[in-house]
């Protein structure tokens, strides 16, 4: 049986808003299984992104515990969390967030060199990955302003996976892309997952959610639904869509 890679116990996250506490995540217990492509869905304000940031160590929970394997990370300092992220996590953001003043290749290497030594093998790996996501040698020298949204997001994915993270987090990675670019990006995620990568992705898009193997539905800061699917491509697409749609309708999506 697959083991848990990430687990929470009574996780809470609150924000202070004009003197009143806004409880976004409430006593949440979840298990993220190694090798799963977990999709977190929910209506706006349900706490999807907040949960993602807390799970990934980008933000600290207000209460509760987060276990990464056997290690508790909820009490880590900011610098400890940064070190935790660099060794274990990869991130793909909705707004890409490439470094403006660096080329495509340097953007990828900036993420890599904080963890690994600069070797010809590392540079080759970065170039190979970039080629795999459809970029060519000419593109490596381009700056973010010279890339389309889809190209930039693909660079973002390569930057996220260059260090072979134990878990890849993605926050609505297709949210700012057109449908063609979205499909390309989702294909990359599917491909990465097939290779054994654990992924946690936040989305509100059905097409994106269909790529996952597990869908957690959030409402009012708690998980109200947990739906499992076969890996993408291993079942009938119509049935897959119908099943997920039924689940989401049940959840009130």
């Amino acid at each position: 049986m697959a083991s848990s890679i990430l687990r929470t116990e009574k996780l809470c996250k609150s924000f202070s808003n004009g003197g009143t506490q806004q409880h976004v995540i409430k006593n949440l217990d979840i298990d993220i299984i190694e090798g799963d492509f977990t999709v977190i869905m929910g209506s706006s304000g349900s706490g999807k992104s907040t949960l993602l940031y807390a799970l990934s160590g980008m933000d600290k929970p207000t209460l509760g515990k987060i276990f990464f394997g056997d290690t508790q990370i909820q009490d880590y300092t900011n610098d400890q969390l940064a070190q935790f992220r660099r060794g274990n996590c990869g991130f793909v953001f909705q707004s890409v967030y490439l470094l403006d003043d660096q080329t495509v290749l340097d953007n990828v290497l900036t993420g890599a060199l904080i963890v690994q030594k600069n070797t010809p093998e590392l540079v080759s790996k970065a170039k190979e990955l970039l080629k795999k996501v459809g970029l060519n040698e000419e593109d490596f020298k381009k700056y973010s302003n010279q890339l389309s949204g889809g190209e930039a997001q693909r660079v973002g994915i390569v930057r996220a996976v260059i260090n072979d993270p134990k878990i890849l987090f993605a926050d609505e990675p297709t949210g700012a892309l057109n449908s063609a670019s979205s499909r390309d990006v989702l294909d990359i995620f599917t491909e990465i997952h097939k290779n054994g990568q654990s992924i946690v992705m936040v989305t509100h898009d059905l097409k994106t959610a269909l790529r996952g193997t597990r869908v957690l539905y959030l409402r009012d800061g708690g998980v109200v639904g947990d739906y499992r699917m076969k890996p993408y491509g291993e079942d009938d697409k119509q049935e897959r869509r119908a099943g997920l749609t039924a689940f989401l309708e049940e959840m009130g999506w």
Binding site: S49, D59, A82, R86, C89, Y97, D101, L105, L113, I114
Partner: protein
């Protein structure tokens, strides 16, 4: 009104930056105000005090036995000066004193009886005992104001003159306002009773000491020149007068008295210039960054109908308000500092400061600072015009590095933080240029202060090393004694490291030069320990002389040139073989060999043994051993008193005391005596007296230099701290601007796993290449400024401490790194989620 509200909102948002600008403008205004309000204060205080004394503005003193009435007529015939007061005084040169509590002091002293003082000036008394108390005093003395203001003496205190081993105690009757002779270099005029005056005429009659005829007159606008006047007197009499005259005037004494204050004031102006420059550059830097950061907001405001001029004004108001607050605080500080400045000026010039604080000048300084800030803010904020709404929405014309990739990371080696910092620096090199001027200027000033603080930190040792002569113990021998033989004997003493034969220092004129030179004579200059050859070589032959850098500046005399030195009725040509520097006597020293000196002054005889004591040996220990070897010096024998013993022994002791008095004070070279007491003949002679006097040049040097050394040490240290704070503020502003500007970038990096410390390191490292370059430039500039300062102020070449400068450079670079690193600490406040949700 809306614009003002916008400015206030921005101010509230950027509190830290606003505080930094407030600090810089406050320091600028404070220093500029103190400079402007006080630069004329010392001058005015001097003039007021002089006017109140009723004194003439010029005085010439010629040794009484050399004076002729015709000299007075020369003043009339050559300069049209008719109102001349002729009187006399006793010139005490450097006399030793003991204060009430036994402290030893040395003052250049001019003694006048009250009747003469009243001829010279109004003799306006200030703090004094009552008339009845004064009447009762056996030995009253009236001192010039310096003693009450600068030295803290009070009426009723005792001041004891020590001469030839005898004490002459005086009671201070009070103080009076004097026009001239209220200065440590030119001397202090002390008014004493007729009896005491007559006594001093006798006991101070030796060499430069003694009675002088004095001519007091007003020389302003007459074309009068001391040296030309004395030359005329020499022509008239056919006598050499250089060694027998001294002079003073308000021009000279004022220049001397105000020298230190003026130097301090110009330093303040220099430092305020640096901080002003820093403040303006920082404001320019901030406005540029603000406009770039807030480009989209500018677009929104323009879209809403705000004119670009109005938006520009919101930036201008922000900095004018900030600078205004700083300037007001600076003004308050200047008013608070004013009483301290008055005290400092009074203590330095020894005259009361009666001028009110120049409020107008302080406010003018404040106005200048605010206007400068306004002008530069207006010029820079006008940049908003370049961005119409559409361009502003697109964040200006973003032309990000579409050219060559500088320092590609695939080729980077070593630490990624260093690689990223260098990459960031190279991409953003233009922004570094803006800070160059202020960092270089502040760095120059800091390194100058470090060198000065270190130099003066050793007390007077530093100054002693600049005297251009060996400051040692001098044993003056009686005439007729074989100086070389005594030198050999002294050299053998276990307390002594080295003993050299020297000549009494003389002032000799140099043809075609306004500046007479004090002589320094060595048989062999390799024996000298404190004379540094700057160029050429030491004199080796009797027709060679070494001069100073100052004289080169004054007279244009260089190595290889000839100069004619006027001795006692002789004029001798010398070739200049080398250059040295000396802060003594305005650096106009003349260095000759013994043979050379004897050519210039044929009547000169060596009568001094310069004694270099071993480490740890005190002057007292040496003197004790010297007395054991050569007998008590004639000076000390004067007060020895009668010995116990037989009648013959007591008579011999009394006779010896008389002989000592005659030989030590009246220039008698040899005495034989025969006394008949109850039919018994007692004979004796003065030949057993060998030593006339023993003195330590170090004691005099310590007294005259320790004040300057202490003030300079603490002044340099204080300035160093203030300037370091300025540099810290500049770098802090740059670092916080970088953080603010790169907020998004830093957030992304944090998301990737870079820690706050990694990013702080990158920001600090980014500033290092330019900081290192600026500090190196500043080092050279500081060395140049330091040398120029020493030449200008002390007439000598400042000794550069290269190892210290290198260490200071390293410390300064480390300081800059630390400040930038700490200032970049606000990165910690940026969380990744904040970045992603902004």
């Amino acid at each position: 009104m809306n614009i003002l509200r916008l400015s206030l909102f921005k101010l509230k948002k950027n509190k830290k930056e606003a505080f930094a600008i407030v600090f810089l403008t406050m320091i600028t205004t404070l220093m500029l105000s103190v400079f402007a309000a006080n630069i004329s204060k010392a001058n005015k205080a001097y003039d007021d005090s002089f006017a109140q004394s009723g004194s003439k503005d010029t005085c010439v003193m010629i040794k009484k036995d050399k004076y002729r009435d015709e000299y007075k007529d020369l003043l009339n015939s050559e300069y049209g000066i008719r109102e001349i007061t002729e009187t006399e005084c006793v010139y005490g040169f450097t006399l030793d004193y003991k204060t009430n509590n036994g402290d030893e002091r040395t003052y250049v002293s001019v003694f006048v009886p009250e009747k003469n003082e009243r001829k010279i000036e109004d003799f306006v008394k200030t703090d004094k005992l009552t008339d009845e108390e004064v009447e009762k005093l056996e030995h009253p003395i009236w001192l010039p104001m310096f003693f009450s203001i600068g030295e803290g003496y009070q009426a009723g205190d005792t001041l004891t003159v020590c001469k030839n081993g005898r004490d002459y105690p005086f009671t201070i009757a009070g103080f009076y306002k004097t026009g001239l002779y209220n200065n440590s270099s030119y001397g202090y005029k002390m008014v004493i009773s007729d009896n005491d005056y007559e006594l001093f005429k006798l006991i101070l009659d030796d060499g430069v000491y003694g009675a002088y005829a004095t001519l007091w007159f007003n020389s302003a606008n007459t074309g009068y020149n001391e040296d030309i006047f004395i030359e005329s007197c020499e022509k008239l009499s056919g006598e050499e007068l250089n060694s027998y005259f001294t002079y003073n005037s308000t021009r000279n004494e004022k220049l001397n008295s105000l020298q230190f204050i003026n130097m301090f004031m110009y330093f303040l102006a220099f430092f305020s210039g640096i901080t002003m420059l820093s403040a303006v550059l920082m404001i320019i830097h901030r406005i540029t960054n603000d406009i770039e950061d807030q480009m989209q907001q500018i677009g929104v405001l323009e879209a809403l109908g705000y004119r670009s001029r109005e938006i520009s004004l919101s930036y201008v108001y922000e900095y004018v308000i900030t600078a205004g607050i700083g300037a007001v605080l600076g003004v308050v500080g200047a008013f608070l500092v004013s009483p301290l400045m008055n005290l400092g000026i009074q203590n330095t010039i020894g005259r009361p400061v009666t001028v009110k604080t120049e409020g107008g000048m302080i406010l003018l300084s404040c106005f200048i600072v605010v206007v400068l800030v306004t002008v530069f803010a207006l010029l820079k904020a006008a940049k908003v015009k370049k961005y119409p709404p559409v361009v502003a929405f697109r964040k200006g014309i973003r032309t990000h590095h579409f050219g060559r990739n500088i320092l590609p990371l695939e080729k980077a080696k070593g630490n990624i933080n260093i690689a990223l910092a260098m990459k960031s620096f190279l991409c953003d090199i233009k922004s570094a240029v803006g800070t160059a001027v202020c960092i270089i200027a502040a760095g120059t000033a800091i390194l100058f202060c470090v060198t000065s603080a270190e130099f003066f930190g050793h007390g007077i040792d530093g100054l002693l090393s600049m005297t251009g002569d060996d400051i040692v113990t001098e044993v003056e021998l009686l005439n007729g004694v074989d100086t070389y033989a005594v030198r050999d004997e002294i050299a053998k003493m276990p307390e002594v490291r080295k003993a050299l034969v020297k000549y009494q220092q003389k002032w000799l004129s140099v043809r075609d030069s306004e500046y007479p030179g004090a002589t320094v004579v060595f048989d062999n200059y390799n024996d000298a320990e404190n004379i540094k050859l700057i160029d050429g070589r030491f004199p080796e032959h009797d027709n060679e002389v070494m001069t100073t850098i100052s004289r080169k500046q004054y007279d244009g005399v260089d190595i290889g040139d000839s100069i004619v030195i006027k001795g006692n009725g002789t004029e001798t040509k010398f070739i200049v073989t080398g250059m040295t520097s000396s802060m003594m006597n305005n650096g106009t020293m003349l260095y000759m060999t013994s043979e050379g000196y004897c050519r210039a002054c044929p009547d000169a005889r060596p009568n001094i043994v310069s004694v270099y004591l071993k480490d740890g040996v005190t002057m007292e220990q040496f003197e004790e051993k010297l007395n054991e070897k050569f007998g008590t010096s004639a000076k000390d024998s004067v007060n020895a008193g009668g010995a116990d013993g037989t009648l013959e022994e007591r008579i011999r002791a009394a006779a010896d005391e008389k002989l000592a008095l005659l030989t030590s004070q009246y220039g008698v070279t040899n005495i034989d005596y025969a006394l008949v007491v109850d039919g018994q003949v007692i004979t004796g002679n003065s030949r057993h007296f060998i030593i006339k006097d023993v003195s330590s040049l170090m004691t005099l040097a310590e007294q005259s230099m320790s004040g300057v050394a202490t003030v300079s040490k603490y002044g340099s240290f204080g300035a160093m701290l203030v300037l370091s704070a300025v540099v810290a503020v500049i770098l802090g502003l740059i670092a916080s601007s970088n953080v603010k500007r790169q907020r998004r970038r830093l957030g992304i990096m944090k998301g990737m796993g870079y820690t706050s410390k990694d990013l702080m390191k990158q920001i600090a490292l980014k500033t290092m290449p330019v900081t290192i370059v600026y500090v190196i430039i500043a080092s050279f500039a500081a060395m140049y400024v330091y040398s120029a300062f020493w030449l200008m102020v002390f007439g000598t070449v400042g000794e550069l401490n290269i190892p210290l400068t290198i260490v200071a450079d390293v410390v300064l670079v480390a300081f800059c790194y630390a400040v930038t690193y700490i200032s970049a600490g606000r990165i910690k406040a940026i969380s990744v989620t904040e970045l992603m949700t902004e």
